[in-house]
């Protein structure tokens, strides 16, 4: 049953109460170090509260919409495989994991890679089966002291996915995490929690794809922690195509060891309010991180990408390119932080954010933040925000290409710098299709 109250304090109390209910059901397990961590995260969430726009990190992203209506924390669902048909991604190959309302659903999922290549389990199961492994990674990377949503997720972490890739292994098939929020009957809030540990000299491709079913409101607050051992390589894609009533707040926290390579693309196609935090700590020499992003809000959608690259060791490299196409009355935020620690000599860090604003009602806020404490480094950053190039548009029209098509062609070309980075073909095809459809509207 959907609770009838709806306001900031009520929602907070509801979440705190959910924690206590959860705890009561745990019996002896509440004494574990894992649960003690959750308890301390809950305290922190209680202390911090939901951020307001007075908070520097949330200046342009107002979460007040979350308190306008009540969310149900009950994650049960009547959803079956047939209900997923409209959300199908054609030709999707590989390991396909369904996470519905934050819960791992093995009966919907399909794992085809052998266990010798990768172990994919539910987070809930891993807490019981391998507490030492969880203990050595859980909340070690994603800081919950400063970020209320990460604290909330940590406190309520019950389920999600754990992916472990052994040393010297290439996972041949990609792993697709499909997050479905079943908002057909009620407003749903979910707190999925994932952990991905990639062994030494191992390689894996993971995509997270978010969809909503139904027309009620949804709130997904996800945290994914990724640990790359030395010489590990990972492709990581986050794809959001949710509804006009979807709130999405997510943190992907990456810890990289020596000579590891992390390639990411974050593509936000639809959602009411989206906040992506991508935080990477280059905690090893010769570690490299590539971060690409594309966001295309329209209507009254809001998309906020916060990235942080922390160059902690010498000789590391980061490259970042985020691109936005903003229409109607949508708003966008890009905040890119780069830290270069005193030890991180010979750092190379490049950041760029380019935006096309299609309508006078749309707006974009960009904020690069470079904090450099080493002296022998190469860093550059640049942001541009402008209209679609009129001269290019006229050039194309003067050759016989109609205005709308010329516009789509230009914007499609603009998106290619990001989409061409995606190495899982079915995901790329899917994105090309949705992007094209969106541009033709």
């Amino acid at each position: 049953m959907t609770p009838s109250y709806a306001s900031y304090n009520d929602f907070k109390d509801q979440l705190l109460a959910a924690f206590r209910t959860n705890e009561e059901l745990m019996n002896g397990a509440s004494k574990t170090p894992f649960h003690q961590l959750r308890r301390s995260a809950l305290k922190q969430f209680d202390l911090l509260g939901f951020p307001t726009i007075r908070h520097e990190e949330w200046k342009y992203s107002n979460v007040n919409g979350l308190f306008k209506e009540a969310f149900d924390l009950d994650d049960t669902t009547t959803l079956t495989a047939n209900d997923l048909d409209p959300l199908e991604i054609p030709n999707l190959d590989g390991n396909i994991i369904y996470i519905v309302n934050g819960r791992y659903h093995p009966e919907l999922s399909r794992i085809i890679s052998p266990e010798s290549q990768v172990q994919i389990t539910s987070f809930a199961e891993a807490i019981k089966a391998d507490p030492d492994f969880i203990g050595s990674h859980f909340a070690r990377y994603a800081d919950y002291q400063e970020n209320a949503f990460t604290a909330l997720n940590t406190a309520l972490a019950n389920d999600g996915v754990v992916i472990r890739v052994p040393d010297n292994t290439t996972v041949e098939q990609p792993i697709i995490l499909r997050y479905i929020t079943d908002a057909r009957d009620k407003n749903i809030a979910a707190q999925p929690r994932n952990l991905i540990a990639v062994g030494k000299n191992a390689e894996v491709m993971v995509a997270e794809a978010y969809r909503t079913l139904g027309d009620r409101s949804s709130f997904v607050n996800v945290v994914t922690e990724i640990a790359l051992s030395r010489d590990a390589r990972m492709q990581y894609y986050k794809v959001q195509n949710e509804t006009e009533k979807a709130y999405h707040i997510g943190t992907t926290q990456v810890n990289q060891s020596d000579n590891s390579h992390f390639y990411s693309a974050t593509v936000t196609l639809n959602g009411n309010f989206v906040r992506n935090n991508l935080n990477i700590v280059l905690n090893g020499q010769h570690a490299e991180a590539f971060m690409y992003g594309l966001y295309m809000p329209n209507g009254r959608q809001h998309v906020d990408n916060h990235t942080l690259v922390d160059h902690a060791m010498p000789n590391s490299y980061s490259k970042e390119l985020y691109k936005g196409i903003l229409d109607d009355n949508s708003t966008g935020v890009f905040n890119g932080k780069i830290f270069v620690r005193p030890d991180a000599q010979k750092t190379n860090a490049y950041q760029s954010c380019k935006n096309v604003v299609l309508s006078p009602g749309a707006s974009m806020n960009t904020k690069p933040q470079l904090e450099i404490f080493a002296d022998d480094v190469k860093c550059s950053h640049g942001t541009t925000t402008g209209k679609l190039n009129d001269e290019a548009l006229f050039y194309m029209r003067s050759r016989g290409i109609p205005k709308d098509e010329a516009r789509s062609l230009l914007l499609y070309a603009f998106s290619q710098d990001v989409l061409s980075q995606i190495k899982i073909q079915s995901i790329r095809d899917y994105l090309e299709r949705v992007v094209t459809e969106k541009l033709m509207k």
Binding site: N389, A392, R397, S398, R399, A413
Partner: protein
């Protein structure tokens, strides 16, 4: 083919064309010359339909149709082609893909079937020879990182592909060395035909040594003040444009 009468156009609050008249028949090559600021590029832009210019009076008929009523893409489909003075760089769109889209849009407008990939490639290979343009250039992003000469050759290549009825070359000679100029002019000359007219807009007589016009017009202060045979270009080269200013007073 093209009939311009009393054409008046503004950019912002400034009037550039102040009652321009010009008649062009199929098969003819007309050179428009004149000092900087006379309105040469404005005329080219107005004919192609650039939005920044506001036409406040006069008329332009192209094969009997009111050109000024048409969107730029409709003008292209009717057979107007503007070779840009400064071709635009378009990252992410290859010349090949761009031209295929353009050509098939124009064909659609004319009620012709679209060309498939094989037919298109065959046509492209044939036209590439005209301006000595390389395949590798055409698969790159349109004009991006092209040299000045490559950009202008690409314009003439596009013209060859789209086979317009009326081609307008806006300062095509600017920024070209003599070899590039010769290649571009050769391309234009090979495209001359009894059905096609060409307007060559230029500041210098040099280009007209290679593309020999049937008529030369002098544009000054928004009007055509003098017209004559090709020898007029030689006279302008000798005397410069100062005498015009004296005459205009």
């Amino acid at each position: 083919m093209l009939s311009i009468s009393n054409l008046q156009a503004f950019i912002g609050k400034k009037q550039i064309l102040k009652g321009l008249d010009l008649e062009i028949k199929a098969g003819e090559v007309h050179a428009i010359m004149g000092p900087n600021g006379a309105g040469k590029s404005t005329l080219a832009s107005v004919l192609a339909g650039r939005a920044e210019y506001e036409v406040t009076g006069g008329s332009v008929l192209f094969e009997g149709k009111d050109l000024l009523e048409l969107a730029p893409e409709e003008r292209a489909a009717e057979g107007i082609f503007l070779a840009f003075q400064y071709p635009v760089e378009i990252p992410g769109v290859s010349t090949t893909n761009f031209l295929k889209t353009a050509l098939n849009e124009i064909r659609k407008h004319r009620g012709q079937e679209s060309l498939d990939a094989v037919q298109f490639l065959k046509l492209m290979k044939e036209k590439m020879k005209l301006v000595n343009i390389d395949q590798s250039l055409l698969s790159r992003s349109l004009n991006e990182g092209f040299s000045g000469g490559e950009k202008k050759r690409n314009e003439i290549f596009q013209m060859a592909m789209l086979e317009p009825k009326l081609a307008i070359l806006d300062e095509t000679d600017s920024g070209l060395d003599i070899d590039a100029l010769r290649i571009v002019a050769d391309g234009v000359n090979q495209l001359r035909s009894p059905e096609r007219a060409t307007i060559v807009v230029t500041h210098y007589q040099r280009l007209l040594d290679y593309i020999v016009p049937d008529y030369v017009h002098v544009l000054y202060n928004g009007r055509i003040v003098k017209s004559g045979p090709k020898e007029l270009a030689m006279e302008l080269e000798e005397k410069g444009y100062d005498w015009l200013k004296a005459e205009a007073i």
